[in-house]
Symmetry: C2
Subunit: 250 residues, 2 copies
């Protein structure tokens, strides 16, 4: 029997963001492997094995999934959002790259999903409507100087910036450091949005400006969007303003 | 009766990338509005009005959708990929921003979808596994100098770069100009991928390097991914190599 490894994007939080392809793979899989809260989002099916693990053991989890696939099992590794964006797909291919040669012959399929920044953007309006970048503020695997360099070029290039992993219990001051850097390079009136727990019960959207943004409001569930020069706010009465990035630039 | 405007992402090409939310909105809509090939992808339903138009009339299409919503109709504006990424959501909010004040009171909902770069990344492996940016090479609405500036900062910031709209009948040399700029800034061995018509019958993936890339192979259906320093290629026998971006950086 030949195994298959699906790397499945569950989308951010709400089941309605699941694709048809992802649903089918989850129904077929014999083993569901992932970070605990993501595994918990997969509907239970009789006979399926579920292996939930901690957030910080991505490579171990990837190896376990690959080993089971090599034994002929149909395995689904699940990620919130899109597995290809700051998630399990890179961890699986990294494990393949450094693992036994047989793993290169496996049938591995990445099934894309709606990423956190897309769900956040949808709630805000259309802030990613023009050139943008996505930067993870986690310095677990890269030095802070690399993150600073990327923030600086993102600001100087006038990109809309989506910040992933903006808060960490281990390094709570990093987000303030990032904002201090951006404040040196961008105008104070630059639009800033915090999209918290999008699609979940505690969803909250905060619209502010770079010079007034209170970074203490940012937690691990927050996707931060820093506007570009073309990002505009549409004032509304009795409803939250919309944010979009004009497709025009001067 | 109160209208509603859904801005719906159909995902790239294949129906299996549609979300549950998008399916429901398409089933409810009285009017389906969009660029002709996207409207053609929506299953026909009795009683639904379909307004297909040309690619270049995005703002007219947005205004038509808003006017119908203001009349109390349930309208779906459809985009390929994610409507929030280089697509109709920004056009709709731009039309609201410059339109009659009543439009600001409308019920407008953006329904995110899998974007072209995510589908391309899924086919390639995990090239967007770490910090990346997305740049449209279309200079219909912005001067080429802005695109050059963004390409330069993206390269200097060591971002993975996804290029949207890389080819245009009106300006066929732009993609060669972009590659010439990138070749001055990045090493020749930088991994480059062309993902053509992903999810469609004529899907084709080309893996190459910056110094060897043949830009004449790029057409309007191509999503171009330029690797960063951490982007690696996993050699395979009898199958296409995988490309992923390591989560680590030095």
């Amino acid at each position: 029997m030949s195994g298959c490894l699906y790397i499945v994007g569950l989308g951010p939080a709400d089941e309605k963001w699941l694709t048809l392809e992802a649903q089918e793979a989850l129904a077929q899989a014999q083993d569901i492997i992932g970070y605990d809260p993501y595994v918990a989002r997969v509907p239970m099916r009789p006979g399926q094995t579920r292996l939930a693990s901690d957030n910080r053991v991505e490579i171990d989890r990837a190896r376990e999934a690959l080993a089971r696939t090599a034994q002929g099992r149909v395995v689904a590794v699940v990620s919130g959002g899109d597995p290809g964006v700051f998630a399990m797909a890179a961890a699986v291919f990294e494990a393949v790259d450094h693992g036994p040669k047989e793993w290169r012959a496996l049938d591995i399929r990445v099934l894309p999903g709606v990423s956190a920044m897309q769900a956040a953007a949808a709630r805000l309006g259309a802030p990613l409507g023009h050139d943008f970048c996505a930067i993870s503020l986690s310095d677990n695997l890269k030095p802070w100087s690399v993150i600073e360099k990327r923030l600086e070029h993102a600001a100087r290039g006038d990109f809309v910036i989506a910040l992933y992993n903006p808060a960490s219990r281990a390094r709570p001051t990093r987000i303030a450091d990032a904002f201090a850097l951006l404040r040196r390079l961008l105008p104070g009136e630059t639009l800033v949005s915090f999209a918290k727990a999008v699609g979940r019960e505690k969803e909250e959207i905060i619209l502010t400006r770079l010079d007034e943004a209170d970074t203490s409001l940012i937690d691990m569930s927050t996707l931060v969007v820093i506007g570009a020069s073309g990002t505009k706010r549409i004032a509304r009465e009795g409803a939250r303003d919309w944010v979009y990035t004009s497709r025009k630039a001067e």
